[in-house]
Amino acid sequence: MSRRLLPIALVLAAAIAYPVAIVSGGAPHFPDRSDCVDLATKDGEIDAVFGRFDKRSDAAARLRVVLGRGFTGSKIEGDGCGRLKVVVHGIPTLAVGKELAAEARRVGLHVTLEHAAP
């Protein structure tokens, strides 16, 4: 390689090496709405979420079902990612949350236990 090309090759190598090194760890991650779901894995401030919805009417329909099956305290909130969730706050431990989830399953509802948003 001629002395003229060597410096240019150095610049090109650096310009390519950095993105290649980054991409080698996996394709660039574009956050999506699933990143708003922070599943609970340990005790702490935990929410029980009975579903996420794009339309308020759908969320309201689910809320009626949830309240009708005895989960008082449920309400509709924005999830910070442009969707609405039907949620019960204030679950103190993961064990209590799992009991609540089992209870929900028995009455035909699906619940996810999530860390409460800060």
């Binding site: 003229r4 090309l5 060597l6 410096p7 240019i8 150095l10 610049v11 190598a13 650096a14 310009a15 950095y18 993105p19 980054i22 660039p28 574009f30 956050p31």
Partner: protein
Amino acid sequence: MNAHSIGGLFALNMLLLAVGVTILYALRGWVSWTELARLSGVAYMLGVAATSVVWVFELIVGISFGLVTIIGTGAVLAVVASFAGHRVGHRLPGIRVGMKIPRLSFVSAIFAAATIVYLEAAFRAARLAGLYEFDAWAFWVPKAKAIYYFGGLDEQFFRELINQPYPPLVPALEAAAFHFMGAPDVVTLHLQFWFLFVGFTAAVVGLLSGRVPPLFLWPSLLLMLVTPHVGGHFYHPTADFLIDELFAIAALLVALWLIDRKDWQLLGAGILLAAVVLTKREGYAFAASVIVAALVVTARERRAAWPKLIAVGIVAAAAALPWRIFLGVRGLGGGGPEAGGTGLFSNLDRAWPSLRLAVSTLFDYHLWLLVTPLAVVAILAAFAAGARVLPLYTTLLLVFAVVAFTYSTWAFPSLGISKEPALNPIVRLTGEVVLLTPALVPLLLASAWRRALPVVEDP
């Protein structure tokens, strides 16, 4: 936020670059394609400045701001500039002219590689940056969203926002970005400011490479890039860095004009300064400082130099006129200082603390590392070596900047004497000097070392 948004932003910036290339063709042309590549950063900044100034005029007269207007404005500017360039005798070089690989020293290569990797890393930071900066979410981006949704400067909305008198160049640019992204994606929007910063960096390199030794150009550029405040803030969707970038390139073009006396440099500076005054209120002071500094250093040749400099000043000032009239018509007030004019005398106790704050912020190592001391050393070295015009010009720019920074605190008694961003915008203001440094320090050092400053090979 997705690849589609990034692709949209890329397309918008290619449009701005294309417009800028035609403006460069009108102003000076190029003798080879390598030369055009070298000046592509300047072309991009000219494209950003000219296109966004016209967008502001269109918003003021009530033209609906949509994709058709955005692209149509660029197309009209490109056609007019191409025609003007052809009329003044500029011609495109042949395809094979200047396709040679440019000569690059190892010093340049090492620093260029570091700069590119820095900018690539900054891309990653900007791609996922949240809208946390107060000014960004409080009024810059809401204004842009209003333009995006309503197609113009909605009277009620703009009246209710804070800082109504701020000119809408940045909101217009952000609204254009929203249109190209296909949605008001306030996260990916940060990348638009990454593009602007890359354009600024490329413009500095393009204007100075080949005329100053690489060891003077690259380290000062890299020093500016790695300062804590630059690295953490240049991609925020506010006007603070854009005004500094436009101003620094305009000041550099005027500095080069002081050496070369090529008219295109002054014309280019005029376009950039027009955008400066439409970006933020302090743009008036920034633009005036460049013109006055150049007037002072050309006092001995005032007959030849002053009419051109004054014409540039008039062009920049005239660009702000429609916006000032618009503010008057809508009764939005001029956005003057709380205690300007005689009000300064009733706040005399703030004068010294304001000056001390301005100077201490400029020299704050934790904000700007050693950028300002480097500028001072370069000025002293140039004076010591017998140079006069460039060091005096730079000194005046620094002095005017300190006066403006001092005034900004002194004339606004509600601002605290503090570097805390929530209390005083002094840190953001001082970015003007910091971005100016890599543009002027290499020229100063080159003149200090008595290196030849070859006249650029303009056609």
